[in-house]
């Protein structure tokens, strides 16, 4: 069935609707992406509906099914779930002929566009290596359950595998508890790596465990450990400003949201001629050196 032909959700006044399935609406990056989508939607005359799944993949599938079968939206945006976990939601969307765009998932049958979750991971680990060097100990705070962190982790693993002189310790944080876990793992790791035991770094697969790590560093008064993170939420940017976070790859959620929305609109317009694509929105590596410039360019970044 061609998506355009059956565009079922067309409401009486012709307004089209995008159904957004959020991972955790309370997360800053999720919020930025939603913001980007809403901006383009407003320009294009679309409505948006957001469902917060609170991280539950089961609810994500349920929401996609509701969007497809009863609300009959015109397109669905699903955030930060593995596409391989969306079988029933995708199959509902497919049978209703509704295009799905994914943020950070993979291109599978039914998904017309996605943003790469790996790109910022690659960028982060490359910049880490550039800054930190190729020798020393690194604590990686990973999270395999979330798709973004999952791909960032894969990028990280691929890069450090080529670094024989890096001793990597991996610890898996839990959600909820990500901040607390970041603190606890770090302080244990610090105990084993006292000051002077060589170059030390901590890599957080997103802001919050890294913030926990910084808290542990502050608690124990250590300043010899460099902390790296991805996402670039207000608290991470503030930490870069304060000098407690070495660098953070600011993920441009708003742009990613915009790209996804544009893809959704484009695929609805193009119908069967639409070619599935992956967007690679580069992050911006923010360090103490460029933070002021960055904040000038992105005045909202500290409080949105």
């Amino acid at each position: 069935s061609s998506p355009a032909a059956s565009s079922p959700g067309q409401s009486s006044d012709g307004t089209k609707t995008l159904g957004i399935v959020a991972l955790v609406a309370t997360d800053a990056l999720n919020a930025a992406v939603i913001k980007g989508m809403k901006e383009v939607a407003a320009d294009e005359g679309w409505k948006t509906i957001v469902t917060d799944t609170n991280g539950s993949v089961d609810k994500a599938n349920a929401a996609m099914t509701t969007f497809s079968t009863t609300q009959k939206v015109d397109a669905i945006a699903v955030m930060a779930f593995l596409s391989t976990s969306l079988q029933s939601g995708l199959s509902s969307a497919r049978s209703a002929g509704i295009p799905v765009v994914s943020w950070g998932g993979e291109l599978t049958d039914g998904i017309v566009a996605t943003t790469s979750a790996e790109a910022v991971g690659v960028q982060s680990v490359q910049d880490l290596l550039k800054d930190f060097g190729h020798k020393g100990s690194v604590l990686a705070l990973t999270y395999h359950t979330g798709v973004l962190c999952y791909y960032r982790g894969i990028a990280f693993d691929a890069a450090v595998k080529k670094e024989p002189d890096l001793q990597v310790t991996r610890n898996e944080v839990a959600i909820p508890g990500q901040v607390e876990d970041g603190t606890k793992f770090t302080s244990g790791w610090l105990a084993k790596h006292p000051a002077g035991s060589g170059p030390l770094a901590i890599w957080g697969s997103w802001d919050e465990p890294a913030m926990g790590a910084i808290a542990a560093l502050k608690q124990s008064g250590r300043t010899d450990v460099k902390v790296y993170a991805i996402n670039g939420g207000p608290q991470a940017l503030q930490a870069v400003k304060d000098g407690t976070l070495e660098q953070v790859v600011w993920q441009d959620g708003v742009t990613e949201g915009k790209d996804m929305m544009k893809a959704a609109v484009g695929s609805v317009k193009a119908g069967s001629s639409w070619k599935a694509k992956t967007y690679n929105v580069p992050g911006i590596t923010v360090t103490k050196a460029n933070i002021d410039q960055f904040l000038a360019d992105h005045p909202d970044a500290l409080n949105s």
Binding site: D52, N54, D58, A62, T69, L82, S85, H144
Partner: protein, 350 residues
Amino acid sequence: MSTSPTIPNAAASPQPSPTPNGSGVIARDQRRVSRLLLLILSRYGTLIGLALMVILFTVRAPEAFFNITNFVNILSQSSLTAIIAAGLTMTLVVGEFDLSIGYAASFAGLLVVGFIALNGLPVAAAVLLMLMIGAAVGTANGVLVTKVRINAVIATLGVGTILTGLGFAYSAFPIAAGIPQSFDNISLGRPLLGIPNPIIIMVLVLAILWFILNKTDLGQKMQAVGGNIEAARLSGIRVDRVKIFAFGAAGVCAALTGILLSALLGSGTLAAADGYLLDAFAAVFLGSATLRDGEFHIVGTLVGVLIISVGFNGLSIFGAPSWAQDVFNGAILIVAVGLSTLSRRYAKAG
């Protein structure tokens, strides 16, 4: 936590005293009517809450909400929570507690897919094996609680944490390749009148558990154990066995939920079902305010699950702002139960 229902103590608190000397038949009749209303409200408060939600959503979104497709959606989304919550109900009926169910479901969902995709087991064999493992996990909980006498909170949290670790050791990565359609069909199939399989399985599981609880020796014994364990023991009931059975049932239900979830998702993912724990608890306790006063029972649990599912469904149809969804979900818990308990008090006083 207060596991055994305590003596209803309406008496303790100030109550509106009825007019002394009801003056005439009319006043008495009015009183009787309002008392009847309160009684209805107290038994069916949560049901009325559910009905109000349905009405609200229907009025606000008539086409999208009030139609068969959507109801089937709601039911099939409820079915997994209902199954795991029904298992939890069993442990609460015997006066215990199971915090491991969410982790056990995640573990089962990952392993069953692994058995099939990695170890090459046939689907039926993998599912059966997994249900047996679920029973074993539940039994382990039960033995820790009854024989080793570890508090259920600690025992089940401990077992759950261990399961999380074991799942992680088994595969830190989602298993998605090599899963046959026949496995997915466990959740996606619609063998009967187009009714999705999970709904059918839910009805079966709930019917069996309801029957056990209400129509068999074992069920009476479970209720007795939950009501007054010492009295149950002195009535010749093998209290430990009864409790272990309840934990075993909860383990099987958790495993079943995990399996259904993986079939629905099309992959086995770490921690995918962890979130069922809170939903199940909310549902079971919501349900305990339905029909009977503070007792845990299967029908109540189903009502509780439906309240949560209808709320989620309706709010996602509205596209209410996220914060409003949380506030609504929290408020519905309090209002639905509060309705029942308050009216129960006034009905008693009247």
